[in-house]
Amino acid sequence: MKIKVIVTLKEGVLDPQGKAIQQTLNGMNFSDVKEVRQGKYFDIEVDTKDEKKAKTKVEEMCKHLLANLVIEDYKIL
């Protein structure tokens, strides 16, 4: 089954790419864009039909590779 994961920077952590995107959007006349935060999205195909098991595995993957918990949070969808 497929598990989706989103990794985002924690609140307060500097996001230079998000800032550049925001400034570009403002320059494109989307003047009401106040902030953009960029993140990462993963589609993970796990060879099991047990959703709970798959999500537990993916949680381990998030903690040990997909996210760096010093600056990032993860969300399993």
Binding site: V13, L14, P16, Q17, L65, L66, N68, V70, I71
Partner: protein, 227 residues
């Protein structure tokens, strides 16, 4: 003295490091990332470059490579591990060093000569070094060091902030912070100071014909301290 330089796919400062170590007396050997064991060494170096294309986060894939288990074991038993640039990033991703190197504040790849101040000499790397301020080279996109307030306090309280960016006279004001790094941090130690990670490249400054010879002080001194 024996040293080992680990080569990851995408390492590009491995040979410069090999030349530098040999020039100052080390018997250096190159070790491939997919090997399981490191030959007997007094020093292990993780070189600069773009290991695994810097995919996911800089150093994150290298931190899970086959050879890393041996590096961690070596480090945990007091062995000297030096990480330069991408090597520093790998050390933070393995958890051997605290914090993380984020993208530079102004989104630019920075390639220039800088000055760094040595903040602690009670360690094998800088003990007896003849200069306090070194002129070294940086070349990175992710050199913006970040850690939590508690971790920063721990680094400060234990004198683990190894080197900081400064002017040629040692002024550490924000003006001399090239990449937005916390407290001008250019390099840090682990608690026992056997592991050093730093963004500047001493291996690029080992000859009078290059723009600085200050890397020579670093390697010469390190070799003497290990003898």
């Amino acid at each position: 003295m024996k040293s080992s330089v680990i080569i990851f796919p995408g390492s590009n400062c491995d040979r410069d490091m090999d030349v530098a170590l040999k020039k100052f007396g080390f018997k250096n050997q190159m070790v491939w990332h997919n090997d399981a064991e490191i030959p007997k060494s007094d020093l292990i170096v993780l070189p600069g470059g773009f290991s695994y294309g810097d995919y996911l986060r800089c150093g994150s894939i290298a931190a899970k490579s086959k050879i890393i288990k041996s590096v961690v074991e070596f480090a945990n038993t007091g062995g000297l591990v030096l990480g330069i640039c991408n090597g520093f990033q790998i050390l933070t991703e393995t958890g051997l060093l605290t914090g993380i190197l984020q993208q530079n504040k102004y989104q630019k790849f920075i390639c220039k000569n800088v000055h760094v101040k040595i903040n602690d000499k009670e360690n094998k790397y800088f003990k007896n070094i003849k200069k306090e301020i070194l002129s070294l080279h940086i070349a990175h996109n992710e050199g913006n060091y970040f850690c939590s307030e508690n971790e920063l306090k721990f680094l400060k309280d234990n004198n683990l902030i190894a080197v900081t960016y400064c002017s040629k006279n040692g002024n550490e004001s924000e003006e001399y912070n090239p990449n937005g790094t916390l407290k001008n941090i250019a390099g840090i130690f682990n608690k026992d100071k056997n592991i050093l990670g730093m963004m500047p490249h001493p291996e690029r400054m080992i000859d009078k014909y290059l723009s600085s010879n200050d890397g020579s002080f670093f390697f010469e001194n390190l070799f003497e301290n290990l003898k």
